[in-house]
Each structure stands twice: as C-alpha cells, then as structure tokens.
C-alpha cells in the first residue's frame, strides 16, 4: 500500500476498530503527503512542533474567497449557506488569533476550575442514577446507558439549559457531532443538514440567552451573556451562540468516547480494572494513560499559511494538514512500549486534549466525568465481561469510539 493513500485507510470504517497498525506505517514518514494534497503528520515531535507554529491556521476558507463554480445551484443556494455557516457559526476552534483569543478569553473566564469542581457532586449523582437503571439486567449497553446521557446532562447543567429541554439537546448533539468529521465537512448534503440543525439550535439559544439576561442564574450561559463593562466588553450574540453550540458538541461526543474507550480498555486489561476497583486513587493515572492510549479525538485538520519545514519535509503554503494525535501518542520515539496500556508510566505527555492554543478548554471537566464514571463502573458492575471484542464502531475516524459497548454483568452492587 503506497504511503500516499494511508490516510484513506485511516478513514475507511473497516479499520476503525484498530487503526494503530496504519498509524505505525504512517509514522515511518513523519510528514506524509496524501494523493489529495493533504499532509498527514504522525510523529510526536513533528505534531508538537506544528502545534506551536504560527503558520498553522484553523480557519476555514473565508467565504469571500469561495470561487464561483458556474453551477447556479451551488453559487446561489449552497454557497450562501456555506458562507452562513462560516460567518455566523465559526466557533473558536475554527478561528485564529486574535479573534480566537478574545473568544477563548470569554469562555475561560466562565469555565473556571471552581465551576467545574462544583459539578463533582452532580456528576456523581448522575452516574449513580444511570447505573441504577441497569439493576435487574444481565447486560449493560454502556453507550446508551451511561456514556451518552451523562455528558449532555452535565453540559446542560453547566450551561444552564432547563432540564425539560435536555432530550432536544441530545438530538441536536448527535446530529452536530458528525459535522466535525472530515467526510461530513466535504459532503454538501451533510453540510445542509448541519446548517438546519445549527439554525434550530441557534433559535433555541437566542431565546435562552434572552431569558438568561432577564433572569441571570449561576450558570455559564448567564455569565457569558452578561452585559459588558469597561474592562470586559460584552460577547456578541452570534459568538455567544457559536460558543454555546461548540461547548455542546465538543464536550459531548468526546466525553462519550473517553468513557466508552476507557471501559473497553479496562475490560481488555482485567488486572487494571481490578486495581482501579481496589484503589480509586489510581483514577487520574488511568485517565491520563487512556488519553494517550485510546484518545477520544484521533486527529484534527489545519491549514498552512506559509511554507513550513518540519521533520525533514516542507509543507507548502495553503496545504491542508492533518495532525494525527493518536499516532503521536503511540510514537515509540517518544514513549517506551507505546502500545502497552500502562497507567504507571511516568512520562505521559499525550495529545489526548490536543495542544497549543487550541488545547481542550473542557479538559478538567472531561477528567472529572471520566474518573467518576469509570471508578463507579469498576466498583458497581459485578463480574463485567465484554460481549463482543471488538465492539461495533461509529463511522467517525477522528471522534472515534464504539457505537455501543455490550457488557455482561452478574448484577449491580
């Protein structure tokens, strides 16, 4: 298989269960040009260097530069829709400095560690409740039963979405998560569906923001929607909606994957499951190693604004770049025995939350959710066994995770 088609192999759903051998082959060429002109970066050192390079952009193509195609349907109908996505709904993960910094500043001022810590009890209660619903059954469908409902409930709580609206949020989150996949972003049909979802959620958020301004509560949306002061100007409504949608999407599917991949990995390493069960203090180590070994996000795309020389190659200006975080996490040049799941490893600088200026804003929350969920699962599921290994996977190659994870249990403790 030539190296310039290896990334197509990564995207191929048939390789979803175990993409790591392909990553190993990609790493032989740290910066590998693909047939479509994209450059896949797969070693730890090269990814790290690019994460801190100012020539890497996260911005989508600005709408003014979209060339006319001659096809009236595209030029008059679809392109304006694309423009609308780009203009009105460009959240901070698709923005560069200085706009990115302004938006991130707003989020960071509200997504405080104190606010995250305050969610501890709520997460624990949610996890207990979700596990309780499995009582009397001999199988747990982990994604449906816990991994999926937990993060969306937490985000709704964080943002201040009323409980009765949560089911609607679930539906939106599901549809929007697919929008982050490279295939979906190329497919016009999917784009349109995404726009419709954005519109629906934007209408909802607009109303909710109005209400938060009338009656501020102790939640993130109230904080973000606060009127401006001299030192802190107000956040525009469009940015506010884009940010709220981003928090919903980015904080959802990723956490689902972290919990599900985590339980899958522990079930594949029963000794580690037993150790975590006996000693919940090990949870932080387990989570960090999971973020390296089975990260929730396998890669992210960027674009070069100038020629970049890295790892002996030169990526030309204007080229798409794929930072293959999950491959960097298994780089034998960086980690000893990278394919071994070892929570006791001392050196664990992973790309599980990305890196550089787009480093995951929600990392502390993801850690708390995964820790509480995995410890509770290890302690309360009696004699858990995987029903199928590998489990069925969702199609996404970047936000990679099982469709469901069937676990046979002897009961709930």
């Amino acid at each position: 298989m030539p190296e310039d088609t290896l990334f197509a192999e990564v995207l191929d759903p048939r390789n979803r269960a175990d993409p790591y051998p392909i990553y190993a082959r990609l790493r032989r060429t740290p910066v590998a040009r693909q047939r479509d002109g994209a450059y896949v970066v797969s070693t730890h050192a090269a990814i790290r260097s690019l994460l801190f390079d100012p020539r890497l952009s996260s911005e989508d193509l600005p709408p003014s530069r979209r060339p006319p195609t001659g096809n009236p349907l595209k030029d008059w109908l679809l392109n304006p829709i694309k423009n609308r996505i780009a203009n009105a709904h460009r959240p901070l993960i698709f923005r560069d400095p200085p706009d990115h910094d302004t938006l991130r500043g707003f989020v960071m001022s509200e997504f405080t560690i104190a606010r995250v810590n305050d969610l501890h009890g709520r997460v624990a209660a949610l996890v207990d409740g979700l596990i309780e619903t499995c009582r009397g059954r001999d199988t747990v469908c982990l994604v449906d039963d816990l991994s999926y409902p937990l993060p969306v409930a937490v985000i709704c709580d964080l943002l201040g979405v009323p409980e009765q609206d949560e089911p609607q949020f679930h539906a939106w989150a599901t549809r929007l998560a697919t929008a982050l996949e490279p295939d979906a972003r190329r497919d016009e049909e999917a784009r349109r569906a995404t726009v419709e979802t954005f519109d629906a959620i934007a209408d909802y958020m607009r109303a909710l923001i109005r209400q938060k301004r009338r009656q501020p509560a102790d939640d993130m949306l109230s904080g973000l929607a606060r009127r401006g002061t001299r030192d802190r100007p107000a956040m525009g409504d469009v940015d506010l909606i884009a940010t709220a949608v981003l928090l919903l999407v980015a904080g959802h599917e990723t956490t689902v994957n972290l919990i599900t991949n985590g339980m899958l990995t522990l079930l594949r390493h029963p000794d580690e499951l037993a150790r975590l069960k006996a000693d919940p203090e090990r949870a932080p180590r387990v989570i960090e190693e999971l973020l390296r070994y089975e990260p929730p996000v396998h890669f992210r795309s960027r674009k070069t604004l100038g020629d970049i020389a890295v790892a002996g190659a030169t990526i030309p200006k204007g080229a798409p770049v794929i930072l293959l975080f999950a491959a960097g996490n298994r780089d034998p040049e960086r980690f000893s025995e990278p394919d071994r799941f070892d929570p006791d490893r001392a050196d664990i600088q992973h790309f599980g939350f990305g890196g550089g200026l787009h480093y995951c804003v929600g990392a502390p929350l993801a850690r708390i959710e995964a820790e509480i969920a995995l410890v509770a699962l290890c302690r309360r599921l009696r004699d858990p066994k995987l029903l199928a290994d590998p489990p069925p996977y969702r199609p996404g190659a970047s936000l990679r995770g099982p469709e469901n994870l069937g676990i046979r249990i002897a009961g709930i403790l």
């Binding site: 260097s49 801190f52 390079d53 100012p54 020539r55 890497l56 952009s57 911005e59 560069d96 400095p97 200085p98 070069t304 604004l305 100038g306 020629d307 200006k317 550089g356 200026l357």
Partner: protein
C-alpha cells in the same frame, strides 16, 4: 579525577549549584567544595526584583531546590580573594585556602553601586542579592515619599512596576530615549514607555542623575542633568552589574569587569591565550565565543544560561578528552506592568526590527530583530506562545524576517530598532599587571 583535592566551585548561586549538581549527576564521586561570598545557600534571583519587592514572597523563601544530594563541603560567607594556578589553590577572605584539582568559576556579577555624589547616603539601594532585596523591601514597606529609580534596564523597570503596584510615586531616569533601550531598542522600548506612563510612572528619558543630596545622612533630593530637582524618599540604583572577577586579577587568566574569557568549551583562557585545562567557567561571569553568533565573545547574564552553561562546563570537566563546544541561544524573561516580556537571541547589533505577530496597538506582539538580512533575536510582549517557533529559526540563522504567512500577522514593516550607541566594550585587558607566575 585522580587528585585528593577534588573539584571546587567558586560561586554558590544558580550556576554554581547547577554545576555541582551536574557533576554529581555526571557520576563524579570525589570531593566537592562550594565557595560562596554570601552566608546563604543558593537562592533564586528572579523573584527578588518582582515578588520580593512586592511583598508577596519573603527574601529568604527563595532557596533553590537541590535536585541531587551534593555531599559537598560548603564554604559560605567567605569570598574568594585570589587564585594561585601554580599551587592550584583558591584563597578565601578568611585567610584560608582551598586546594582544587579542577575549578569551576561561577562568581557571577554584583550590582553596580551609585558611583556619583551622595553615594554614602541612607535610602540608596541596589538589588542583586537576597539581603539587598530584603533591605529594600523593608524600606519600601515604610516608604512614603517618591521612589527614584536610576536606570531603565530590566531591573529598574521591574522595580518601577513593583513600586507603582505598592502605590508609591515613582520617577525613573534613564539616559536613553526609552526604557530598555539597550536590551530592546527604542522602537519596542517606546511601547513599554507608554505602558509605564499609563501606570503612573514619571518617566524622565534622555537625562541623567547628576547628584543625590541628603539630610541627616538620608537621601532627600536628586538633581538631574537637565536641571530638574526631584524630592525623593528612596533611591534604587539599577545601573547594571559588574562581573565578579576581582579575585582573578593576579591569576594569569584573561579576566576583567566584562567577565572571564573562555574557549568554546567553557575552559578559562590564560593571558597567553591557552585554555587552562583545569579551570572552567559558567554563568554571568563567563565570556565565551558563541558559535550561534559567529564566534563573537559574549557573556550572558541570564538565568537560562547559568543553568545550561554550568551543566555544560561540568560535562566537559568530566570528559576532558571529549570537550564539546557550548552553543547557547540566550533568552530572558521579565514581568512588569502586567506584561510578560520574553526574548530569545541577542538583539545588540541589530539593524532592523519588525512586528511579525500581533500589534503594538493591541498591546501584545512579537518582534523579530535582524542584522544583515539574518534573524538574530525575537521578542514577545504577552505573545510568548509562538516564541519557540521563532527561536528555532533564529538558531539556524534564518532570513529576516524568518516566518512569512502566519496567523495574526500584520503587514510586516521593517523599522530601525533604535539601539543607543554602544558603550565602550570591556576589553580583555586586565586592570592589574600580569602575575609573575602567569
């Protein structure tokens, strides 16, 4: 190491400590002696002009962590006063001598005192050591009048920032057109000047303090070269540092107030131009040909260099048959007026400067300095995240400006950096006649 005397490290600050640690980490098991002129174990200096002055950290809470057991003999509170290379001994202020097989010179530098009229007055301070910082902090805590800062270098500016944060009226006098003109040039220095004025500093550029005048032994007035008179309650002389090489005057080594000259492998050079195979130097005191700057002799008075060069010198000391050249990209940082300032490379001699990320208007930017079409240094005002990428380009001598096509990159305009004319460069010439045994 065959001898009985072992290794002696003269200078018990950052470079001395890190050098001693590197010797132990490098497998050296023999006797190890650390000589220090201050009575304190090694401590960290950067906080002295920041957190300590601000009262956020006690001066004695700055001890440097020791990363390995040193099993060393500490000779603290007794400065080295002489070096006899033939007898291989270091003479100390208490009259005793310490024999060495190998010597690491890490005596650093000391603050230049106020040299003019009014030098003996109370209320005139310098900041270099822990005790100086503690005394100044105590004086600031009870100060009521205006603080006069003489010199707008890094320390002067940091002190000005602390004093303003304490609510004290501050006047800063500097002979150049802007603060930090020597380190950054006036183009960038102008941005800091605006920041300082916005913070309420009475900035007096382009003039000098002629004399300090006192009453009852306490400083109370300063007269400036431009004729102005300022009533002051306290004076901080921030006039830079003098390398501590007095004790080497009779040693036959090339040493003067500009430092101790070394070869590329950190070995001290004798007056006859040969390296002394048993004497190494590191940190502020060492002046060596830096291959990253065309072999130009440089002495780098920054934290990172003390750490790296000490480890490098220790490594070469333990591997006499395989000396490696020391190539170091100098770097420093400063925090003042709510700003994080970081620089990599040596900007002196730059003929151009360009803002390459951010903008001066936005208050955060990255500037690159060029010389003869090469990038030689990069400076960040609250924009350090991209500095590593620029450091990499500077280390390989990339074209100026080094990075084209970047996020948040303005239309790159090349400007004159505005460095003041160089001060007389300290020469290799010693101030003492050559010792007979050299």
């Amino acid at each position: 190491m065959s001898g009985q005397a072992g290794i002696v490290v003269v200078g018990a600050s950052l470079a001395g400590l890190r050098g001693a640690e590197a010797l132990r980490l490098g497998g050296y098991e023999g006797p190890l002696t650390l000589v220090g002129d201050e009575p304190h174990r090694p401590y960290d200096r950067p906080p002295l002009s920041k957190h300590v002055l601000a009262g956020e950290l006690a001066a004695d809470a700055t001890a440097l962590p020791q990363r390995v057991p040193l099993r060393a003999c500490w000779r603290l509170g007794s400065a080295a006063t002489g070096l006899d290379r033939r007898a291989k001994t270091v003479r100390l202020a208490d009259g005793s001598s310490v024999a060495y097989d190998k010597l690491l010179v890490a005596t650093g530098a000391r603050a230049r005192k106020w040299p003019g009229e009014g030098a003996g007055l109370g209320g005139v301070f310098t900041i270099r050591g822990r005790d100086e910082a503690a005394a100044l902090r105590a004086a600031l805590a009870r100060a009521s009048g205006r603080v006069l800062i003489v010199g707008g270098g890094l320390i002067g500016c940091e002190a000005a920032s602390c004093c303003r944060a304490l609510g004290l009226p501050v006047t800063l006098v500097d002979p150049n057109a802007t603060p930090l003109a020597r380190a950054l040039g006036t183009f960038v220095g102008g941005t800091l000047a605006a920041r300082m004025r916005a913070a309420g500093v009475d900035l007096r550029p382009g003039t000098q303090v002629r004399a300090l005048e006192g009453e009852d032994g306490q400083v109370c007035r300063a007269r400036l070269a431009d004729g102005a008179t300022i009533a002051v309650g306290l004076v901080i002389a921030a006039l830079g540092a003098v390398r501590d090489t007095d004790w080497l005057a009779m040693s036959g080594l090339k040493a003067d107030i500009g430092g101790l000259t070394c070869d590329g492998a950190c070995r001290a050079i004798t007056r006859t131009g040969e390296p002394d195979p048993d004497i190494f130097a590191a940190g502020d005191v060492a002046r060596w040909p830096n291959p990253l700057y065309g072999g130009r002799l440089v002495a780098v008075e920054h934290w990172g260099n003390a750490v790296e060069q000490a480890a490098h010198a220790a490594r070469n000391m333990l591997n006499p048959d395989d000396p490696l050249p020391y190539a170091h990209l100098p770097a420093f940082w400063s925090s003042q007026f709510g700003l994080n300032i970081k620089m990599v490379g040596l900007a002196d001699g730059a003929d151009s400067v360009a803002i390459v990320q951010g903008s001066r208007a936005a208050g955060r930017f990255l500037a690159v300095y060029g010389r003869d079409g090469r990038s030689i240094a990069a400076l960040s005002f609250d924009e350090a995240r991209w500095l590593p990428a620029y450091a990499e380009r500077i280390a390989v001598g990339a074209a100026f400006p080094p990075i084209r096509g970047a996020t948040d990159q303005p239309a790159v305009e090349t400007r004159a950096p505005g460095f003041p004319p160089p001060r007389p460069i300290p020469t290799d010439r010693g101030r003492m006649p050559e010792a007979a045994h050299a």
